[in-house]
Amino acid sequence: MSSFLSVRDLVVHFPTVDGVVKATENLSYELDRGQTLGIVGESGSGKSVSSSAILGLHRGTNAEVSGEIMLDGVDLLKVNDETIRRKRGREVAMIFQDPLSAMHPYYTVGNQISEAYRVHNNVSRKQARARTVEMLDRVGIPQPDRRVDDYPHQFSGGMRQRAMIAMALINDPGLLIADEPTTALDVTVQAQILDLLQDLQREFNSAIIIITHDLGVVAEMADDVLVMYAGRAVEYGPTKEILVHPEMPYTWGLLSSVPDVVGDTDAKLIPIRGNPPSLLTPPAGCAFHPRCDHTDKVPGRLCFTTLPELTPARAGGDHTKRCHLVNPDEVYAKEVLPEIAPEMSEEDA
C-alpha cells in the first residue's frame, strides 16, 4: 500500500536574471495519516519552498516545478488549477509562522475563519459562524462566542496562532503543513501550541509536516525527520535514529551548535563555520563541503567534486544520509559526541 502523501523527485527552480535559483532538488519523502514529519534546515535550505509546492502555491509564478506529489492517489502537480483550489484548505491546509501577517487586519478573526469553511461547504453564514465558534473553543480560546468578533490585533500572539490552527483545521484536512508554527512564540505558549497540535492530530488522524529550525521541536513532535541543506535532503529517517546516530556532519553541526537546558555545562558549543551557500551557485560536489570539518577523511577530494548520493546509513533501517564518509558513526562517537555531551560519551565508554 502506498503512503497517504508521497513526494518523489520534487524539483523547484526559480529562473531569475542572475540565473536559476535551485531551491529544491530531487526531494523525496513519504508520510502516512496520523504521522508527523519534521523538516529541519536553516533559512534558504528549501524547506518552505518544497512544502508550499504541495499546496500548489507556485502556480502562477515563474517557478519551474517537476516531480510527483501523490496525495491520496492523486498527483497534485498534474491536476488543473480548479482541482487544486478545491483541495487547498480542505485536504491540505497550512499554518504560517507569523499569524499577524498571515491574517487580514481589516476583517474579524471569525469572519476569516468562517470564510475558509464557507468556501468549501455549502452552508449559511449562521452555520459557518456556529462552526467557527466551535473550532475556536476546540483550540482553547476563552469565551469563543465573544472573541469570534475580535480583530487579529486584539488577540495575543499565542491566541492568534490558535486562531490560525482553527482556520486550518476547520475543514478537517488530511494533511496539515505547519511552517515554523511556534518560532514567533514564547516557550510556554510554544508548549501549549505543540500539545494542541498533538491532541488534534490524535483526534482527526491527520498527517502533519512541521517545518522548523529547532531540533527540540522535532524531537518532541516528529516521527520522521528530514534534514535539508541547500535544497537537498541530506539525512532522512526515524527521529530517534537520527538524533541518536546522526551520520551527516551537517546534522552534527545542528546538534552541537544549540545549547541545552539540562545536562552537562561542560558541553561545548561548536558553531558551523561560514554561512549557508547561495542557491544560485551552490558549491560543487557536496554542498556542505566548505563548512565541513571532515572532508580530509574522504580520499581523493571526493567531497569537492562529486555529489554524494542518498544512501542507507550504517545503522540500517529506514535511515538514509548523503555523505561520503565511510565510517560516520565512528567519527561521531569519537570526535563530536565527547565535545557536545561529555557525560553521554563517558557512559558509552
Binding site: 516557550v187 505558549v189 505543540l194 538524533l243 545542528l254 545549547p259 539540562v262 561548536i270 554561512n275
Partner: protein, 410 residues
C-alpha cells in the same frame, strides 16, 4: 599559562585543537567579582492616556516594578522571561534610553538613574547595547566604517585620521574582513550584521554591555558563532554583560547567574546550577519544562510538561499579591493577599514565592509567614515584624533555610 607548567587533565582539554577552532564551554561564575552595576528597586511606569484632546492619565503600565540585581565586573547576568515581562525595558533603563520612574542604577559607584542627557554623555561610553535585529539597528545609508567609527568621532577618542585603522582593527576582532569597511549593511548576511553591531558596541571599550536578544534573529548555526564571539570579547576586554533573552538554553550557556522575570518583577534569581537543576519558583519550573529538549528526546525520556494555562495578565492591572497566582497550581489564599518578597534561600539563590520548593516538593505551609509577619492565610499577625531586609541587590552571607525554617549562614 606558561608552557613549562605540566598540563592537568582540565587544562589539556582546554588546549585541545577543537578549542582553538572555536568550541566554547559555558562561562563560569566568579563569586568574588565586584559588581559593575547595582540596580535597586528599579521601577518604570508608563502612563496610559485616554484618547481625545484632553488626554487624562487613566492608569499605568507597570513594565518594571521594583527590580534589584547586580552585574559582576567581567561577568554576566542573564535576564529571562516571556514577552511583555519587562526584560527589554530593564535593559533600556540601564542604558538610560528611558528615565526610570524610581529606584537607583548604581554604575561604577555613581547613581545614573536620574542624570540629565548632558551628564550622561561621558557615561554613554561605558554602557553600550547590542540590539536584537541587526537589519533594523544599522543605518542602511551608512557604510560599515561610518557606523563603527561614529562613536569614535562623537566622543573624540582618537584623532580623525586614526579612526579608519581603529575601525579596521575592530572589524578584525569580530571576525569580519577589515577591507569591507566601505560596504553597506545590506551587503552582509544576518550573522555578519550582528557582528557589525557588536563591533559598534565595542568601539568605546565599554565596561557594561546590555545585549537584548542578541542571537534570536539568527539561524541556529550562526547563533553559536555569535555566542562564542561574545564570550571571546567578554574574556578579552573584561566586559560585564546583562544578557536579555527568552531562550533559556542560550542564557544557560552564556550566563553563570540568571534572573527570571514575570510581569515586571524578578521571581527567582540564582546561579546557573541551582536555577536550572533545582528551581524553587513554580514559574521557573514551568518555563524550564516547556523547553523542548533534543538530547532528552533522543534517549527516549520525555520530561513531563507543566502546562501553564492562559496568557500573562495585563501589566496595567496586575493581580493582587503574587502576580503569578492566576496561572499557578500552588496558589492559595495568602497568594492573593500578600505579595511574596524576594528572599534569599541559599548562598546564591533568591526566590519570591510563598510556597517555594523543589518541583513536586512544595511545602504545605507558606514559607514566608515569618518574613512577612503574617499567618498561613495571609492575615497580619499582631506584633510580628518582618525580619529581613528585602529587595536588596546582591546576596548576603546568611539566608533562610527552607528545610529547617531557620536562618543559616556560610
Amino acid at each position: 599559562m606558561s608552557s613549562s607548567e605540566p598540563l592537568t587533565d582540565a587544562s589539556a582539554a582546554d588546549a585541545s585543537p577543537v578549542e582553538s577552532s572555536g568550541a566554547h564551554a559555558a562561562s563560569r561564575l566568579d563569586p568574588g567579582a565586584k559588581a559593575v552595576l547595582t540596580v535597586q528597586n528599579l521601577r518604570m511606569y508608563f502612563p496610559v492616556k485616554t484618547s481625545g484632546i484632553i488626554r487624562r492619565t487613566v492608569g499605568h503600565v507597570q513594565a518594571v516594578d521594583g527590580v534589584s540585581f547586580q552585574v559582576p565586573t567581567g561577568g554576566a547576568l542573564g535576564l529571562v522571561g516571556e514577552s511583555g515581562c519587562g526584560k527589554s525595558t530593564t535593559g533600556r533603563l540601564i542604558t538610560r534610553l528611558l528615565r526610570p520612574t524610581g529606584g537607583t542604577i548604581d554604575f561604577d559607584g555613581r547613581d545614573i538613574a536620574q542624570l540629565s542627557n548632558r551628564e550622561l554623555l561621558p557615561l554613554r561610553r561605558e554602557i553600550q547595547m547590542i540590539f536584537q535585529d541587526p537589519a533594523t539597528s544599522l543605518n542602511p545609508r551608512h557604510t560599515v566604517g561610518a557606523i563603527v567609527g561614529a562613536p569614535l568621532l562623537i566622543h573624540k577618542v582618537v584623532p580623525k585620521d586614526k579612526v579608519l585603522p581603529r575601525v579596521q582593527e575592530l572589524l578584525e576582532i569580530v571576525g569580519l574582513n577589515p577591507e569591507h569597511y566601505n560596504r553597506y549593511p545590506h551587503e552582509f548576511s544576518g550573522g555578519q550584521r550582528q557582528r557589525i553591531g557588536i563591533a559598534r558596541a565595542l568601539t568605546l571599550q565599554p565596561k557594561l554591555l546590555v545585549a537584548d536578544e542578541p542571537v534570536s534573529a539568527l539561524d541556529v548555526s550562526i547563533q553559536a558563532q555569535v555566542i562564542n564571539l561574545l564570550q571571546d570579547v567578554q574574556k578579552e576586554f573584561g566586559i560585564g554583560f546583562l544578557f536579555i533573552a527568552h531562550d533559556l538554553a542560550v542564557v544557560r550557556h552564556f550566563c553563570p547567574e540568571v534572573a527570571v522575570m514575570y510581569l515586571g518583577k524578578i521571581v527567582e534569581i540564582a546561579d546557573r546550577e541551582t536555577l536550572y537543576l533545582r528551581p524553587h519558583h513554580p514559574y521557573t519550573q514551568a518555563l524550564l519544562s516547556a523547553v523542548p529538549d533534543v538530547k532528552q528526546a533522543a534517549i527516549g525520556g520525555r520530561r513531563e510538561r507543566i502546562r501553564l494555562e492562559g496568557d500573562v495578565p495585563s501589566p496595567i492591572l496586575p493581580p493582587s499579591g503574587c502576580r503569578f497566582r492566576t496561572r499557578c497550581s500552588l496558589a492559595q489564599e495568602i497568594c492573593a493577599k500578600v505579595e511574596p518578597p524576594l528572599m534569599q534561600i541559599g548562598p546564591r539563590h533568591k526566590v519570591a514565592c510563598h510556597f517555594a520548593g523543589e518541583l513536586g516538593h512544595a511545602p504545605k505551609e507558606p514559607v514566608t509567614m515569618q518574613v512577612c509577619g503574617v499567618d498561613a492565610h495571609g492575615s497580619p499577625v499582631a506584633g510580628a515584624a518582618p525580619d529581613v531586609q528585602l529587595n536588596e541587590p546582591g546576596f548576603s552571607d546568611s539566608w533562610l533555610d527552607l528545610q529547617t525554617g531557620q536562618r543559616a549562614g556560610a
